[in-house]
């Protein structure tokens, strides 16, 4: 007998004859239809994210990056990038070149107000997972229609068949005396630019 059949057989024997269970309740909050953008800003800031509320994305990025070199995903709207910034478009760049960049700029798939979370789903304006991981600075541009109030509403919008990265604040650890320390392996600085304008793909 192979291990698959052995394990499944053991499980079936273990639960044989059990009484049926009541239905799983779902009486928790799904969250408000309209997200509270101020709450998102507050919760992002709570975990050390630098938040910019502006409609001039390029100016905000210029202020953050200066003249550094940034990795950008292939589908990033070109007008987001200020002229002074040197953009390195990820068309399958070698890992060390991504790691050597000063920062990365991406869009997001969803932002969750209640938890101060942004979620990337690797669509062309967000790119491969590793580009938002290796540079030490990550700038995300969030549009109001991408914000949801709660975790349940975020899952409603996300496609499980895409690689998903949920990000809540910069990389951190609580491994030393259970105090949160920002900055371990992921980007140590995270900026969110929250615009009022809708996303223009």
């Amino acid at each position: 007998m192979n291990s698959r059949d052995l394990i499944l057989g053991r499980i079936r024997a273990a639960i044989a004859g059990d009484a049926p269970l009541p239905t799983v309740p779902r009486d928790y909050r799904r969250g408000a239809e309209q997200p509270d953008l101020d709450l998102l800003v507050e919760r992002l800031a709570d975990y050390g994210v630098v938040v910019h509320r502006t409609n001039d994305v390029a100016a905000a990025i210029a202020a953050i990056l200066g003249t550094g070199q940034v990795v950008v995903p292939p589908g990033l709207p070109p007008h987001w990038l200020p002229s002074g910034v040197r953009a390195l478009v990820d068309d399958g760049l070698p890992t060390d070149r991504v790691a050597a960049a000063d920062g990365v700029v991406t869009a997001v798939a969803v932002a969750v107000a209640e938890t101060g979370t942004i979620v990337l789903d690797a669509t062309p304006d967000q790119g491969r997972r590793l580009i938002s991981l290796l540079p030490d600075l990550h700038v995300c541009v969030v549009h109001p229609e991408q914000v949801v109030s709660s975790v349940p509403r975020a899952l409603d919008r996300l496609d499980p068949h895409r690689p998903l990265t949920w990000i809540s604040g910069p990389s951190a650890t609580s491994d030393i005396e259970l105090d949160r320390v920002a900055g371990v392996h992921g980007p140590r600085t995270l900026h969110v630019i929250l615009t009022e304008a809708p996303h223009d793909h």
Binding site: S3, L6, I7, L8, G9, R10, I11, R12, A13, A14, I15, D18, L21, P22, P25, R26, D27, Y28, R29, R43, Y47, G92, A99, V112, E114, T115, T117, A122, R128, R129, L130, L133, V151, L155, D156, P160, H161, R162, P163, L164, T165, W166, S168, G169, P170, S171, T173, S174, D175, I176, E177, L178, D179, R180, V181, A182, G183, V184, H185, G186
Partner: protein, 474 residues
């Protein structure tokens, strides 16, 4: 040939589920270490405060707990179908699923998969399942170097130590001790390293960066696997998880069979429960989700190893099985007065604290961890803290009923029950006990096992009259 009716426990001689000493003996050593006591008190007090704040913030925390419990019960009742569905979905998405009946088989599968890549080093994300089966030891024996990349696991690995907490394996170390370990063991470390936590974290970042970029095989655990979609999820903080899950060419995930969840939307419950109960955050810094392999992004070879190692035996016990509902948040450790004082090593298993006291004996068979069900005052704080409402005290009481009992205790308990079922004998025994105490030395020096009491506590002076004598004379 294994007989299906016999529960198959985690085998002896492999893995880290059994300690060398009984809990009381191991605890005695820990209790005498003032630095350890201080580290544990500080860490558990800090995390309790954070968890209390972020759980109080959610008006539906109790509803979420109840749903989490119901989802886990549903999962256990449908485990065969859910695992088959998971296998089908992962395979359809380009992954390969392996089934491991026990620790030995899981170690063999992973070792062979690594060998097939030709690599001699793997990077690892913190994983309780691989600790449980002793994967690092097995890989090392095969000439493969496992590198732990979680900061706390790195501290433990560099310090040739053992983990003592589910979430924070180096909770027993403070910043000064961690600095010392880094200075002694970390190649290329800056000799001017301070004990400032950001400096210590930065040292780990520098040390591991090159390893992340140059190691093409990773081993991880999984927090959740969605049967409906084949999606796996790893919840972490530092980004080492993201490194291991996205940079290598080959990813091998070892997961206990109980970690499967039925539907995609079920994650909306667990992703609210786990971070708040675990690190006391509204959301942990990073959660990675992936379904099979994605062309051009992340590992192009994905293996999922489904591990039994005693879990089906736990499932066979209708009272004890809810220990399998555990989502490894470690909230029960952080509120446990026994854990706070004795620390994680006293439990002898990778699963310490209240959940370990019910899980380890069930995975191994209670005779191999006979002292663990007694390592609790049954104060109930763990039950209140558990995000999926596992009634740990009730399971402890249940396991004590099946644990081997010392012969003298068995006799004393039977005699006591016999007497207490006979009021006349009982009243006579009450008077006899009083007389014995009056003629003996008051309050001290009882014989074993009661000497455990009188070592640190006086007994009250016996009353001149029992209540029932007073009532009768009234």
């Amino acid at each position: 040939m294994t007989f299906l009716g016999m529960p198959a426990r985690a085998p002896r001689g492999v893995g880290n589920l059994r300690g060398d000493e009984s809990f009381p003996d191991a605890a005695r050593t820990a209790l005498a270490d003032p630095q350890l006591r201080r580290n544990l008190r500080h860490a558990t007090t800090t995390i309790r405060g954070k968890t209390d704040r972020v759980t109080a913030e959610l008006p539906d925390w109790q509803e979420l707990r109840a749903v989490g419990a119901a989802l886990k019960a549903y999962t256990m009742a449908h485990l065969p179908e859910l695992l088959e569905r998971l296998e089908e979905r992962v395979t359809a998405a380009g992954g390969t699923v392996h089934w491991a009946a026990d620790a030995n088989e899981a170690n063999r599968i992973v070792t062979e998969l690594v060998r097939a890549t030709g690599q001699q080093r793997v990077i690892k994300v913190k994983s309780m399942a691989t600790q449980e089966i002793g994967l690092n030891e097995a890989l090392a024996a095969a000439g493969i170097q496992p590198v732990e990349t979680d900061l706390a696991e790195l501290i433990v690995q560099l310090g040739r130590d053992r983990p003592s907490h589910i979430l924070v394996p180096a909770i027993h170390r403070n910043r000064a001790e961690i600095r010392e370990i880094f200075l002694r063991e970390m190649p290329g470390v800056d000799p001017a390293l301070t004990d400032d936590p950001p400096a210590l974290a930065a040292a780990a970042r520098r040390y591991l960066r090159e390893t992340f970029l140059s190691t093409p095989v990773a081993v991880s655990g999984a927090n959740f696997a969605v049967a409906e979609t084949g999606t796996l999820a790893v919840v972490e903080s530092e980004g080492n998880g993201r490194m291991c899950l996205t940079l290598p060419e080959t990813l091998i995930t070892v997961m206990g069979i109980e970690k499967v969840v039925p539907r995609w939307r079920d994650l909306e419950v667990f992703l609210q429960l786990l971070p708040r109960a675990s690190t006391g955050e509204r959301m942990n810094p990073y959660t990675s989700m992936w379904t099979g392999v994605t062309a051009g992004d992340g590992p192009q070879a994905f293996h999922l190893v489904l591990l039994d190692n005693g879990r089906s035996a736990v499932l066979a016990d209708p009272v004890g099985r809810s220990a399998l509902h555990c989502i490894r948040c470690s909230a029960c450790l952080n509120v446990c007065p026994v854990y706070e004082r004795a620390g994680g090593h006293a439990y002898g298993s990778v699963y310490p604290g209240p959940i370990g006291a019910v899980l380890s004996p069930q995975l191994t068979g209670v005779e191999d961890n006979a002292s663990l069900p007694y390592a609790s005052s049954l104060c109930g704080a763990c039950f209140d803290a558990c995000p999926v409402k596992i009634d740990i005290p009730a399971i402890l009481v249940h396991l004590r009923n099946t644990a081997p009992h010392p012969r003298s205790e068995r006799a004393a308990m039977a005699a006591a029950a016999y007497t207490m079922d006979r009021p006349v004998l009982y009243a006579a025994a009450q008077r006899a006990a009083r007389l014995a105490r009056i003629v003996g030395r008051r309050g001290r020096g009882l014989p074993p096992p009661l000497s455990g009491w009188t070592a640190s506590r006086d007994l009250p002076d016996p009353p001149s009259q029992t209540f029932r004598d007073w009532w009768a004379a009234r």
